[in-house]
Symmetry: C2
């Protein structure tokens, strides 16, 4: 509950850098306007960021008659940020410079049978070797890792990963030892990394109360308030996928009945389509089956249209519960199911929300699809590494300007 001026400094520094990354080159004056901070405060923060090597001056801008203003940009020549997405069937890597340009992209295929921490670590080691190769001598500022399931951020522990049946695996320590890393590693789950991605580089920038609804094989929500990721008491906030829609509803893979995930998770969508179409849908290759559904919907095929309608109606109940409790100003739909089916789902979802959301909350709400041009889970993992790096700012600042 303690608040310090350091917290504020870091938070304002995040805000300045988010705007700078979104729109550079630009001036201190422009950043002050965008962040609602004074020019003096922005100038102070920018000095810190320049000292840390995160921001550089790249030229001068003529202003109307007055002194030319210095133009700022993220330092493309500084160290790299690494984002890693560890899942049941792949490990994906991306390296970025501070302008968020992708320096390299690596993917390791993982067999479903490889469920031991050592096996995943092997893949990470192989992938990281390739990343380092690409980077040449460029230093690494930090590594963000997205893991499935429940993560203890402070301890760097995978508390529970249902897909591998992991319990209390000290993954950060194992990773650091296995790769002999001397750079900071930040662990979290994909709900949190994707939300960090939206906050830093997506639609969440500048949004005070944000909910990111992740639709995939599993479903969940990432929350952010005042520009900060909201983790809850045990980093398990946003387990909306297991909020109940109907206590007597269908069985969920978590063992409970009537969870929202049992209605709108990818397997449930495909099962529903199978029922309405009167033929089984191949669930093994669910990405492909989902694309077929999207095409059938586009072609106006009756069972596909009715499937989308039914799923959107159930999704509306879950999203409405979220909105009635949290009253966000923006809900972003993301995840691979959104990528494939979002265009079909959104209008139906918006049609049903007013039936379930109170007026005042509805008036304050926007719902939109993530633009999906970047991989937000990986980019967000890198954002956590960037946040960690920016936490060095205060020590640098206090050393140099007493």
């Amino acid at each position: 509950m303690k608040s310090t001026s350091r917290d504020i400094r870091i938070r304002n520094c995040f805000s300045v850098l988010r705007h700078l990354i979104a729109d550079y080159p630009t001036s201190r004056q422009y950043l002050a306007r965008e962040t609602d901070l004074s020019v003096a405060t922005v100038s102070n923060l920018v000095s810190d960021l320049i000292e840390l090597g995160v921001v550089v001056e790249v030229g001068l801008e003529r202003s109307g008659g007055g002194r030319p203003r210095a133009l700022l940009a993220p330092n493309a020549g500084s160290g790299a940020l690494i984002g890693i997405d560890v899942a049941s069937t792949y490990v994906k890597f991306e390296a970025y410079d501070l302008t968020l340009t992708v320096l390299c992209r690596i993917e390791e295929h993982v067999d479903l049978s490889e469920d031991m921490p050592e096996q995943l670590l092997d893949h990470i080691a192989t992938g990281m070797a390739a990343v380092r190769e690409h980077l040449g001598g460029r230093p690494i500022l930090g590594i963000g890792v997205s893991l499935p399931g429940q993560v203890d951020v402070a301890g760097g522990i995978s508390v529970f990963a249902p897909n591998w049946n992991w319990h209390d695996v000290a993954f950060k320590r194992l990773l650091t030892e296995r790769l002999e890393l001397d750079v900071p590693v930040y662990l979290d789950n994909s709900l949190k990394t994707v939300t960090a991605g939206e906050l830093w580089f997506g639609d969440g920038r500048g949004v005070d109360r944000l909910a990111v609804v992740l639709l995939g094989t599993g479903v969940g929500v990432g929350l952010a308030f005042g520009g900060d990721l909201y983790r809850g008491a045990s980093n398990s906030a946003g387990e909306w996928g297991h909020a109940t829609v109907d206590p007597d509803g269908p069985r969920c893979r978590c063992g409970r009945n009537g969870c929202i995930e049992a209605y709108v998770g990818a397997p449930a969508i495909l099962r529903r389509w199978g029922e309405l179409a009167g033929r089984p849908v191949e669930e093994q290759a669910q990405e492909k089956a989902m694309e077929t559904l999207a095409q059938a919907w586009k072609a106006g095929e009756d069972s596909a249209v009715r499937t989308v309608e039914a799923i959107a109606r159930d999704l509306a109940v879950g999203v409405a519960n979220l909105v009635n409790i949290v009253n966000p100003e923006l809900v972003v739909l993301t995840g691979w199911v959104t990528g494939v089916l979002g265009e079909a789902l959104l209008p139906e979802l918006e049609r049903h929300l007013p039936e379930r959301v109170l007026n005042a909350a509805l008036k304050a709400l926007r719902v939109k699809l993530d633009e999906q041009s970047r991989n937000m889970v990986i980019l967000g993992a890198a954002a956590l590494a960037l946040e960690g790096h920016l936490n060095l700012i205060n020590t640098v600042g206090s050393r140099s300007r007493p």
Copy 2:
């Protein structure tokens, strides 16, 4: 999204004063320990609070060998805070000094037919005249008013009060004009005031992620994060009473089906008891009927026991949804139904929660009954007035210590 050092100063000032009110007389050193702030920071804040007339030095404490430490207390001799709870059948007033001692308590009976703003204002004027009489010449620092329904805090407007069918009533302006007030008035709804009460004077003190579940004729939730009331984008966060438990469930008075309020609001509880007992329950006098139910439960009467079991099971679904999304460390049950039936409901609720809450969130969670020794709605309304008064601290501080 802007954060300023003023925000922090005010937040830390709230924290110091909350601890001081809870446990005085005490020293700057003790407050520093309790708030996790430095002694220097606490001393600065205490100087501001003394200057504002909110805190006084009341003596010296001998410490082990060192210099005696000054003992601090809230200034019982300063101005009064007024809390007002405006409802369909009453207007209740309490005046407090800054130690939260009740200086006077007034209640005005309101007829259900009196549903015009002017009629409520008449009752407030009468009650406030009695309050002023009691206070003698003591000045008033601020007045907090709890209204039913949706409130626009910044505008001081009752956006929607379903019980009176009010829409966009500029209640704060009307009140200020009618009473010719020259003190600040703070308007909010009872979900928010009761939560402010818990934060300042109740179980919420020092809790980082708090949910206050209000069980009454209507039901709802107040949320607070980092010691601050969480209002959401349009001050309608916590409308948990209208989150859906079952889309095909019973009709709610909001016009939707299957809202949690349609299961666990007072009328629903009494209706259920009537069904299980096989005889109608008098809903007109629901407070009395609820007490009869509580007595029947205590006596082990079968229909009463089964009613409590059924209500607790439904309540568990709603509370679990809240906990899975928000992951609070404390849920406090409050409201008049909790006062009457909480002792019966809590053990059953705790029995059902593990069926619906994810493990990590469950481990981090405590659920408890509000102690109900104070009227938290009114006390919380007064807390909003106190918060408003403390916002003067910065101007005082910056004037006097350049």
